[in-house]
């Protein structure tokens, strides 16, 4: 069978996957702490020079297969929006917050803190934020909770602890687990340097609607033209069969 059918077919699959990624980004265009996914294509080549007629072709111009491959998360800083809520914290810089989950430490850029019934600082799922000194617990009659630029929490002038800020040496090793949290499969996180915590603000999603819309139009048009090529190839094959019959 003509390689065109497989090539355009795989391209169509990849484009549909790309649309899934755009959909996920746009669905989260307003999710605080969300980091957009970027999909890229790669051409899968025939193992170069393994005999057969193909080896004679310059491999770069005749891929056998296109697939979506190098998806990665774009950790660029999202815009910081002022909310005025004392327990909203945004990070300016590369650092992450660390939260303690039953499955081990997880990392997030989403600083919408909550209090549990014990007065501890948790994320939206009830996981505690890690600190440099035991649990971060606000005293019962806590007034005027203040978080300084380095993450030190004070309540009514008394220091409660410091929210841990870490840097991940290899961002590519972070795996999304939903709820804007990431698991670190790479080298251990280390103490953050040079990042600042801004109280009363949240980091918005770093999805750019314009960018995604352009990508959306691209995917749609590329899909249509590939479908057209596939259709044309199919009718050519049909004509060939008719001629021979």
């Amino acid at each position: 069978m003509d390689g065109t059918v497989y090539l355009t077919g795989s391209r169509l699959d990849g484009l549909a996957q790309n649309l899934d990624i755009i959909a996920s980004n746009l669905a989260n265009a307003n999710t605080p702490g969300y980091k957009r996914t970027v999909g890229g294509f790669q051409a899968v080549l025939d193992a170069v020079g393994t005999g057969g007629t193909r080896a004679a072709w310059p491999a770069a111009v005749l891929p056998d297969w296109m697939e979506l491959d190098t998806g990665h998360t774009d950790f660029q800083q999202g815009p910081i929006r002022r909310t005025g809520r004392p327990l909203d914290l945004a990070i300016q810089g590369d650092a992450f917050f660390e939260v303690e989950t039953a499955a081990g430490p997880r990392y997030t850029r989403k600083g919408r803190l909550h209090l549990n019934a014990q007065g501890e600082l948790t994320d939206g799922s009830g996981n505690r934020f890690a600190s440099d000194s035991g649990a971060l617990r606000l005293p019962e009659e806590a007034e005027d909770v203040a978080v300084s630029l380095d993450g030190t929490v004070t309540a009514g002038g008394e220091e409660v602890g410091r929210i841990r800020l870490v840097e991940i040496p290899d961002l590519d090793a972070l795996v999304s687990e939903g709820s804007c949290t990431f698991r670190n499969d790479g080298a251990a996180a280390r103490e953050a340097v040079g990042s600042r915590v801004i109280q009363g603000s949240v980091e918005e999603s770093n999805v750019s609607p314009v960018h995604e819309m352009v990508a959306l139009v691209n995917v749609m048009r590329a899909y249509e033209s590939n479908a057209r090529i596939l259709h044309r190839t199919d009718s050519l094959t049909g004509r060939l069969i008719q001629t021979a019959a």
Binding site: A23, N25, Y34, M220
Partner: protein
């Protein structure tokens, strides 16, 4: 075509955001009302290719391929910032200057909590909310009272003709470790939950509680401009997601064309 379902979660989420904005705006002038905000989080990811998988014996893929499945609203955050304080000169209008809630007794005998200090005298002389629920601990006002004074520490004193002012009760306020964990009961009332922690009560001005100010009402803390900005963002995000559904539709159309 997962994209269309993913976009649908985005549209759903924005609908809830618009619902919340609508409720905030509807209560822009409700005394003691506290605005809500919806918080979103991304849903699970489908891993198409694991990061760190082997390409060859010596090389690993540096990044994986994970496709998200959309967004979900995770919680509504009640924002307990103080609303504007309006001078009403009502004898039984009270504003809490700081943290704390008034305690209210419902007909079923439960205690609920409110920031709405718009009280009045009920048929049998006790101080009640606008729905007629008694303030707790109960305060009874004699029928021949000429004036009522509420001190900043919550003491209620009345003057009757021909006698010295007498204290008829004390207002106590309640405080929670996590006020955002209270459940909203409507009628400006909140109820205690496991998440909020138990109420601790004390006199106004004690243990971090605010003082009571007579003749003033705490208005809603809704900021109309911010809400309108939120409304615009929600509406536009909805539209963006609807475009994805349209793109999905065109792709399905193109699929049909292949074998036409």
């Amino acid at each position: 075509m997962r994209a269309m379902y993913t976009a649908a979660t985005g549209m759903d989420a924005q609908t809830i955001r618009i619902d919340t904005v609508a409720n905030n705006l509807a209560n822009a002038n409700t005394a003691g009302f506290k605005k809500s905000q919806v918080d979103f989080a991304d849903l699970m990811y489908i891993v198409m290719r694991r990061p760190g998988g082997s390409q060859t014996e010596a090389t690993q893929t540096p990044t994986g391929l994970e496709v998200g499945t959309g967004v979900s609203p995770v919680s509504t955050l009640r924002i307990f910032t103080e609303g504007a304080i309006a001078n009403t000169e009502g004898e039984l209008d009270m504003a809490i200057m700081g943290d704390g809630f008034f305690q209210v007794e419902t007909p079923t005998g439960e205690t609920k909590y409110t920031r709405d200090g718009n009280f009045r005298i009920g048929p049998d002389g006790i101080v009640v909310t606008s729905q007629g629920y008694p303030l707790y601990p109960r305060v009874s006002i004699p029928t021949d009272t000429t004036s009522i004074a509420v001190g900043s520490d919550g003491t209620v004193t009345v003057t009757t003709p021909g006698s010295d002012p007498t204290q008829v009760g004390t207002i106590e306020l309640a405080k929670f470790t996590n006020p955002a964990g209270l459940s909203s009961e409507g009628g400006n009332l909140f109820a205690e939950t496991v998440a909020s922690g138990p109420a601790t009560t004390a006199a106004p001005g004690q243990q971090g509680l605010g003082e009571v100010k007579q003749g003033y009402l705490e208005m809603s803390n809704v900021d109309v401009v911010t809400e309108l900005v939120d409304l615009i963002i929600a509406q536009r995000t909805y539209e963006l997601n609807s475009k994805v559904v349209k793109a999905g539709d065109r792709i399905l159309q193109a699929i049909n064309y292949i074998v036409s």
